[in-house]
């Protein structure tokens, strides 16, 4: 058991070093100010953004300008909207051009109903983008074999889903996440499905390296306060993982008080 000390508890992805274990998405926020406030409150160092065609009459305000002026933030463009590997590859290249960041969240979900990732197209896109030098972060089903194959073709991390995007069903895939964690030699980040800080803490407790949240913050009652709560919870979960949870009871109760206390004699 390593003891927390002066040494920073950092993690490394694609050769980049981070101390925050909370990644933030920037979608669905009411306005840029709230989004930036939430990102700041979260302490996130990696922040996802999406790519979109510019309209003739640009109508939304520039949400990302303020974000890009923040220090210490690594942008990670995603490939959302791509329905196959070639669209995702194109999006990744454009995203790099715009963000100047080598990070890409490969995200290919052909079915708008459930937004579940396509394992085959994701694998293909990840393979090609990794070879091109991207820091590839694939959003993926919680599939242990696919995880190993993505690692083998050079992905920088694995981003299995906890449950369907935006569903808020938490760590429904926990059993599979455990299998992924056992064999992974690259960071594992739970992406999608988390609704509450306690679920984020649970992901870290079981050994995940980080979590990525968006809806859970943006659609909460108070996004800035919720971002801070997630940051706290991620810290709690990580610290608990390092400290080592107590062994799981085998169904048997164990008294915390000396049970015979009231009647028996101490020292007899």
């Amino acid at each position: 058991m390593e003891r927390q000390g002066k040494v920073q508890d950092e993690w490394i992805v694609g050769g980049h070093r981070f101390s925050s274990r909370l990644l933030m998405g920037t979608g669905k926020f009411q306005d840029a100010e709230t989004m930036v406030g939430a990102v700041l409150a979260s302490g996130a160092q990696i922040v996802t953004v999406a790519l979109r065609r510019v309209g003739r009459i640009p109508q939304e305000d520039d949400m990302l300008g303020p974000l890009q002026r923040l220090r210490g933030i690594t942008l990670m463009p995603n490939t959302s909207g791509a329905r196959n590997a070639s669209e995702a590859i194109r999006a990744a290249r454009l995203g790099r051009e715009l963000s100047g960041s080598p990070f890409v969240k490969v995200e290919i979900h052909p079915n708008p109903h459930h937004l579940m990732p396509d394992p085959i197209e994701t694998f293909e896109a990840a393979r090609i983008l990794a070879a091109e030098g991207f820091v590839v972060m694939p959003y993926m089903p919680a599939d242990p074999v696919l995880a190993k194959r993505l690692e083998d073709v050079g992905c920088a991390s694995l981003m299995p889903l906890g449950s369907a995007i935006g569903s808020g069903r938490g760590l429904a895939t926990a059993e599979m996440l455990r299998l992924i964690l056992r064999d992974a030699r690259i960071p594992v980040i739970v992406d999608a499905g988390l609704r509450s800080p306690s679920e984020a803490a649970a992901a870290l407790e079981m050994g995940c390296d980080a979590v990525l949240v968006n809806s859970a913050v943006a659609a909460s009652g108070d996004p800035i306060a919720m971002a801070a709560a997630f940051a706290q919870a991620v810290g709690a979960g990580r610290n608990a993982h390092r400290a080592g949870l107590m062994p799981r009871g085998g169904g048997t109760a164990l008294a915390t008080s000396p049970l015979t206390a009231f009647l028996s004699v101490e020292g007899s």
Binding site: R53, L64, L94
Partner: protein
Amino acid sequence: MKLTVNGETYEAKQAESVTALLEEMGIGRRAVVVVLNDEVIPASSRSTCGLREGDCVELFRLVGGG
């Protein structure tokens, strides 16, 4: 000059360069990437890169996403 911009027909008034087109469209200051006939135009070449009748231009930017 007739262009196709983001999939739609666009009648450019004085868009002899990419920079001029962006200004005409009012998106000069915003961070966009320009794809001309399927090829990305680096920001540094925008002012020297001319446009021709029928060119296909695509413009992308970053927005909030998860």
